[in-house]
Symmetry: C2
Subunit: 141 residues, 2 copies
Amino acid sequence: MNDPDFSRRIRDAGGRVTAARLAVLRCLAEADEPLTPDEVLEHLARNSDHVPDRVTIYRAIDWLAVHGLVRRLATVGRAARYEPVEDREAHAHFQCRRCAQTRCLPAPTPPLPPLPSGYVAERVELVIHGLCAACRAGENE
Amino acid sequence: MNDPDFSRRIRDAGGRVTAARLAVLRCLAEADEPLTPDEVLEHLARNSDHVPDRVTIYRAIDWLAVHGLVRRLATVGRAARYEPVEDREAHAHFQCRRCAQTRCLPAPTPPLPPLPSGYVAERVELVIHGLCAACRAGENE
DNA sequence: GGTAAAAATGCAATAAAATGGCAAAAAGAC
DNA sequence: GTCTTTTTGCCATTTTATTGCATTTTTACC
Ligand SMILES: [Mn+2]
Ligand SMILES: [Mn+2]
Ligand SMILES: [Zn+2]
Ligand SMILES: [Zn+2]
């Protein structure tokens, strides 16, 4: 599956269309929640034919982020999480403090608050911290 | 300076009042922006008499966070950032993508959006990503 | 299709941030 | 001051990410 849209977006961003970039981008687009680089590697190891090196995944994600095809979320966990930048309006995320699950919420991002002079905003991010349904149910384990 | 209020809050939380906990809590309270554990260590190394071990700082911060005296922010950088939990209403933060400066904004946190059923929110966090005044000025360096 | 230049990759080494184990030290109750 | 429990310091280790460099892949051009 050599999705022509992914290829085009990479080419339009001025980069070379490589197996690693396509695989990473497709992986993030198919996931229904933001993934860590390691989770991307796991997914590719299970579902893909050619599995890129871990460093290549880091570099591919990084390139995609710098060129606006994916975005890195602010997280409380140790690992970074990424999601594809798509048509969908920017939205809020829920982060479970127990299992670190991060999931997209329907809520749109709130409006930009006033900033100190000279500061320029590029993105507004809303993070809800709490317990997911599963963790709440089994909290006393 | 053995601030009785900090001591009391630690004791009320059920812990022992130690030099490290007091120093870390005071450091975060005196800083005007959220700090990383390493920045706390630097501050203490410069301003304090007894400088705790790095691991002790991690453990003190962690204890303070678990007991609600400080809170950990969601960040895009690799290092965690903490700020004291004080009287002040929960507020938004600005994170500079170039220098990683994180600063408190006057804007209060927006209301909680609807969550999937079974999910419980404990905190709402608003993060503004962009460029700080200094980085914007010198962006082409 | 073949060739050359530029960009991307794999692999090993290294760095940054955080955590775990354990004996020694400090804190608090008496 | 003594005793018990908690905390600390030190060292080793883990997790996550980055860097250097030779090799491979991509793309532009013929
Ligand atoms: Mn999302
Ligand atoms: Mn703040
Ligand atoms: Zn959970
Ligand atoms: Zn800046």
